[in-house]
Amino acid sequence: MRLNYPTNVKIVKVPCTGRVDILLILHAFESGVDGVYLAGCLEGECHFLRGNLRAKKRVQYAKKLLDEVGLGGARLDMYNMSSAQGQRFAEVAREMTEKIRALGPSPVKNRGQGV
């Protein structure tokens, strides 16, 4: 579709959002990223049946952990879309970028040791 989306979005491909573990999200923040979002299949349409539902639960849990740690759960979010929805993908990338920009850079940027 040749749609534009912000360049600060780095894509990590996974076979299903169900593959995403809480530790992957936390390690991403440790390495200094300002925000993380998961883009999964529409609910009920998961190719692996319930992977995106597992991811939803993990994102909710990880948001709580991020609040406890002091980074704020707002830096993490999950979106659902069909792989056919290119427009939505770009829209979400823009939306998330704006949200994170408003929150500012991650307070652990360049201070942590990373993993």
Partner: protein, 222 residues
């Protein structure tokens, strides 16, 4: 398994305030099953601590290690080669494991990262429930396999009490009345006549009330 809950991050961070080099020890047995202190939880806790410290501009070095068990010498010995490199040990095994690590490494402060609670079972993924209190004198054969000590809030041996209502305990509307469970089970087993047998006063000396307990098998001692 022994079920434990991880302490709050705030409490753990408070305990770790004076330290910069931490050895975080998990356990591959009970606390893994109840998702409180296994390898995954070690990873998540270490990450949370590093993130919190980084946010304050402070560094912390955490070595993550999950032992097979922390209640046996051989496994605890596995950290001996590098334990001196760390200022403190934070253990998220059950209380028994945490204490044993402390006994083995007498010059090291050992901190508990979990609150150990009960002996229980997995009802479904993510839900664990108490079943045994370790009273030392099992009466499960008399109560259709349901424990009156662990599952009755009052540990009555001849229940139910007047607070049993619609199969629920007066203490909590979501708590099943232990004695209702017992009666239902005895009915299913056609053993309802056992209900009429009065279970005598319990001898609590076999329980914690008699002091810390030990078990020995002479034939196994070298």
């Amino acid at each position: 398994m022994i079920v434990a809950n991880r302490k709050s991050l705030e409490e753990i961070l408070n305990m770790l305030k004076p330290y910069k080099k931490v050895l975080l020890l998990g356990c591959n047995e009970c606390v893994t099953v109840c998702a409180a202190g296994g390898e995954r939880e070690v990873g998540v806790l270490a990450s949370e601590i590093r993130l919190s410290r980084a946010k304050e501009g402070q560094e912390i070095e955490i070595k993550e290690q999950t032992l097979e068990r922390q209640c046996d010498h051989e496994y605890i010995d596995q950290v001996r080669p590098f334990v001196e490199d760390y200022e403190v040990i934070l253990s998220i095994a059950c209380g028994a494991g945490i204490q044993y690590v402390a006994e083995k490494y007498r010059t090291k402060v050992v901190l508990p990262g979990v609150n150990t609670t009960f002996l229980g079972v997995t009802l479904e993924q993510g839900v664990w429930s108490e079943r045994c209190q370790g009273c030392g004198e099992c009466v499960l054969h008399m109560t259709g396999g349901v424990c009156p000590v662990a599952r009755c809030a009052k540990s009555l041996l001849n229940g139910p009490c007047g607070g049993s209502s619609n199969g629920k305990c007066e203490v909590d509307k979501d708590l099943d009345c232990g004695w209702q469970l017992i009666i239902d089970r005895l009915k299913e087993l056609n053993q309802l006549d056992r209900y009429e047998e009065i279970i005598p006063v319990k001898d609590w000396t076999t329980s914690r009330d008699g002091g810390p307990r030990k078990r020995m098998r002479e034939d196994l001692r070298l």
